[in-house]
Amino acid sequence: MIQIFFQFDFLRYSLYTGMLIGLLAPLLGVFLVVRRLALISDALSHITLSGIAFSLLLGRHYSYFAGLNPMYMGMAFSVGGAIFIERLRNVYRYYKELAIPIILSAGIGIGVVFISLANGFNNDLFHYLFGSVAAIRQSDFHMIVSITLFVLVMMLLFYKEWFFLSFDEDQAVISGIPKKTLHFLFIIMVALVISASMRIVGILLVSSLMTLPVASAMRWAKSFKQTFLYAILFSEISVIVGLFSAFHLDIAPGGTIVMLNVIILLISLLLKRKGI
């Protein structure tokens, strides 16, 4: 039942893509969670939705856009949203979390308008919302590979700076770490990973892959580095098992992956009774 994934190109692509997302999402998620910004991924995924809807709408009217992968437009919206969030966080310096509901509702609002204009729900959109095993194309896969390489290189180069900034921003700034540039770079990475993940887990569930494995990992990890290892381990388990079972049971992979993550979290809570 597993071999079938290697017999069909599209299944192989979705498996590889899923595994790369399973690596990237918790990698960024750890930083988001410890900075108490877990909800940013929700805001960005909703703004990605409006980008997708916009692309689908344009596709109905202009043949050029019909051939274009809606992921690109989703990515553009997501990055735009990320920049806007950073701006809002500076404007409302004492209410930094306010940026999140603003972008989140704006994203849904714009998305719904575009969807209505495009004459409602279709099958394509359903896949974007909840993920699909079969939706991965070769171009999606290549895009994910480049994003993975970019994120991994950035992580290797700036891990210690992001770690310091997350733990103690003032101290990090005093020691000469360029806060604004690094925060900006980070949120762009989050935007890219979110829009790239939506094919598999779907827009509505993508944020779960950034937060749930991290929540479980924090019960087990004894250090910051271990938090990454556990989070990536849990997320890979959920993605791989989730994709296989989603395909064989013919259900949306997004939901399966999230449910597996919830199960891992419950087990972690039961086995590791430490207060955080």
């Binding site: 410890v34 108490r36 180069l157 700036f158 210690k160 700076e161 770690f163 310091f164 997350s166 733990f167 103690d168 003032d170 101290q171 990090a172 700034v173 005093i174 020691s175 000469g176 770490i177 360029p178 924090m218 990890a221 004894k222 250090s223 910051f224 580095k225 271990q226 938090t227 955080i276």
Partner: protein, 271 residues
């Protein structure tokens, strides 16, 4: 040795700071020679933390200049020479999943620089620094599982690991029990005496530390006093009145040894 001949760690000239309409600091002149242990005191809201933030380059003063080790702060770039332990260290995210080792390592990140990694030698330094504050048994412990006093020692270790020439501590003992506070001050005094490190300790309660420091500065929007400890103690009553608006006694701890200073009349010639 007169003060003028000593090289200065910090030179603040005519510094003022305004938040909106409100003057927080007015025309501050403050020269801190290298090797001194200054207690910077003042009531809550007197601008102590603002002054420190200016010195650390986190805030730009409205007017005035600051020099660190003789260099104007705008051109000062050797921030690994400056260690800082903030008040906020007591209220950091205690659920943060980081070990003592990882937290202390952060102190080297600025020195190591962008795009570089910690080497074995750096890691050895981190361990030494942890040992220096007596936390060697907790190297791989989660920072959130330690007591307030232990956490504070870890943050000191983090500030010390880059071997700074100047260490600034903003109310570092808030929420730390009395016994740990004493050990803590003794440790600071050792750094000051043995290593010649310049220390600035910000506090609203100078009484607990009078026996460890060498100099005192009193701040309440303006600088009311700056001089050595003995001068301060001889004028202390009038100083307290001008600073707090009413008479406040400074309670000195450990009266049983050497320190009966403010019972006697001092002319300050001993220092």
């Amino acid at each position: 040795m007169t003060k003028a001949s000593r090289s200065m760690a910090i030179e603040v000239e005519g510094l003022s700071f305004t938040y909106g309409q409100r003057n927080v600091l007015e025309d501050i002149h403050l020269h801190i020679p290298e090797g001194s242990f200054l207690g910077l005191m003042g009531p809550n809201g007197s601008g102590k933390s603002t002054l420190i933030k200016c010195i650390l380059g986190l805030l730009s003063p409205t007017t005035g200049t600051i020099k660190l080790f003789g260099k104007p702060i705008q051109r000062f770039n050797d921030w690994s020479q400056v260690g800082f332990v903030s008040q906020k260290a007591n209220s950091f995210n205690s659920g943060f999943p980081a070990t003592v080792f990882e937290v202390v390592s952060m102190g080297l990140y600025g020195k190591v620089g962008l795009l570089r990694f910690l080497t074995k030698k750096h890691k050895q330094k981190v361990l030494e620094s942890i040992q220096q504050v007596g936390m060697q048994d907790y190297v791989h412990q989660n920072i959130g599982e330690l007591s307030g006093g232990q956490q504070q020692r870890v943050f000191i270790a983090r500030a010390l690991v880059s071997e700074p020439k100047l260490l600034i501590l903003d109310e570092p003992t808030v929420g730390v029990d009395a016994k740990s506070v004493q050990n803590f001050y003794t440790m600071l005094q050792r750094l000051n005496v043995e290593r010649g490190m310049t220390l600035i300790l910000v506090t609203h309660d100078i009484g607990a530390m009078t026996e460890y420091i060498t100099d005192v500065a009193c701040l309440n929007k303006c600088l009311h006093f700056h001089g050595n400890k003995l001068e301060f103690e001889s004028q202390h009553d009038s100083m307290m009145t001008s600073l707090y608006g009413h008479d406040v006694r400074v309670i000195t701890h450990n009266h049983d040894h050497h320190d009966h200073d403010h019972d006697h009349d001092h002319d300050g010639s001993g220092h």
